[in-house]
């Protein structure tokens, strides 16, 4: 547990002493602002529904970029050797890095709280719905960061890791709209694995345990795969 904290602090420090964190926060808020404006202008509702749905899609592209550095860079610069010859278990290493990238996500999401504040000034938004929407988005971040870490553990090339992360996440978005091709019955099954159907409840103010479980399982599977990859890299 103590080493998780040590790794967590180190990762945050590395994020913030490089321009990376600031660029990320800036780009993410810019995208969010655009979706917010479009959503409110198009629907005329005092809601974040459009913004949050689109942000989930944007995160498919943004989060692998945030996490691509983690293991790829450690492998490339030789610091992976330092970590693996220190009394640190791969589990604390993964958890520390995952927590650090999630912390960055929380900062990004916190930045978007400006938008509900604007809504509250001009209209009367449903705070319950906004709260569950943010919970949904946080779960998306948790799942995607896990995927990004897994992609990063596969290679020592950051860019390849970023691309791999995006490629792994895209299908979860795309299978959600495959109905026209595969038929409605198949779509009902695909909806179980697709991303957006599990987010829909949150954007309506409903917390369904099945949806929560979906994201928790999503994150767990990829964290576990990361663990297996780190273990197996040592045997090669």
């Amino acid at each position: 547990m103590r080493t998780v904290w040590t790794i967590f602090k180190k990762e945050l420090r590395v994020y913030f002493v490089s321009p990376l964190a600031y660029v990320f926060l800036g780009v993410f808020l810019l995208i969010a602002g655009m979706f917010f404006y479009l959503g409110v202008a198009l629907t005329g509702e005092a809601s974040l529904r459009v913004m949050l749905g689109n942000l989930a899609i944007a995160l498919i592209f943004v989060l692998p970029m945030l996490t691509m550095r983690h293991f790829a860079e450690e492998q490339k610069s030789g610091t992976f050797e330092l970590l693996m010859t220190s009394p640190v278990s791969p589990v604390s290493l993964i958890l520390g890095k995952w927590a650090a990238s999630l912390f960055m996500c929380v900062l990004m999401l916190a930045g978007t709280l400006l938008f509900p504040a604007i809504l509250a000034y001009y209209g009367d938004p449903d705070w319950g719905v906004i709260a569950t929407s943010y919970l949904g988005l946080f779960l998306v971040c948790a799942a995607f960061c896990a995927t990004g870490l897994f992609a990063s553990s596969l290679t020592n090339d950051q860019v390849a890791a970023g691309m791999a992360g995006i490629v792994m996440l895209l299908p979860f978005w795309m299978v959600g709209s495959a109905g026209a091709v595969v038929g409605e019955r198949a779509q009902a099954i695909l909806d179980q694995v697709a991303l957006l159907p599990h987010l829909r409840g949150f954007t309506k103010g409903v917390i369904d345990s099945a949806d929560v479980l979906y994201f928790v399982a999503f994150a767990f599977v990829f964290l576990f795969l990361t663990y297996r990859t780190l273990e197996s890299r040592r045997w090669r």
Binding site: R2, T3, V17, T79, E81, L82, M84, T85, S86, P87
Partner: protein, 303 residues
Amino acid sequence: MIEVRNLTKRYGPFTAVQELDFRVDEGQILGFIGPNGAGKTTTMRILTGFLPATEGTAVVAGHDVFDEGMQVKRKVGYLPETPPLYRELTVGNYLRFVAELRGITGSEADRRIGEVMERVGLRGWERRITGSLSKGYRQRVGLAQALIRDPPVLILDEPTSGLDPAQVVGVRSLIEDLAGDHTVILSTHILREVEALCSHVVVIDQGRIAAKGRMEEVRQEAAPTHYRVEVRGGEGVAQAIGALDVVEQVDPGEVVVVRSGTDPRPAIARLVADKGWDLVSLERVVPSLEDAFLALVGREGGA
């Protein structure tokens, strides 16, 4: 302190090291030498628990590196071939991170960081970004990192590479200071360094041990002490010298090379004087570790 038995590491069809057997007693400095690609780094990575071996066992500080990896990692300080630095961090932050990884926190960490920085000559460099340091200073930070917990066992992969001559001297005397209460394995290309520092050597070539033991023994065995005799104005010099009691072996030629357990020089001098030849030179040659190394590895110009 370190005991390696039958250690083999294969990467698919490629065998990196094969059936290594050696031991290092407490307080010894072992020099680990061999040409590039001989398997030095692989062996060190196995000893530090970074890589698992394919076969064989290694016990470091009383713990098996495979079964009790965590205990071994607590007791070993390791400097990899390239110092494992986070380029974005300052020297101080980096060392604090490593200290915490190794379980030293708070004011204890401050004290240790101050001590090792002093020891490797980094005082006043806390705020420098490691990525902006020169190679020599990065190497120092790497050493500081390995020493931070004052581990009983140190494994140093080419600790002086990239240092300027003054720094090399500094690092050598640092390693000398460590001997006694630390057990050190150090790999290097620089044979003079091994001669200066190490009591024992392991010579490794193409993944196998070519020689091991006390420095003088290895040197003596691979390239024994011999005597060069140059004489003018005589016939059958080599035969005459070879006939002497003290001489064990003679290589004839312009310069006669004599091998012998005891010093044959007085006998040879008397012989030359009796025969009325002119003695041009008579010298004792103690081969360097370099000669021994070349004799063992046998590929001049190296792989």
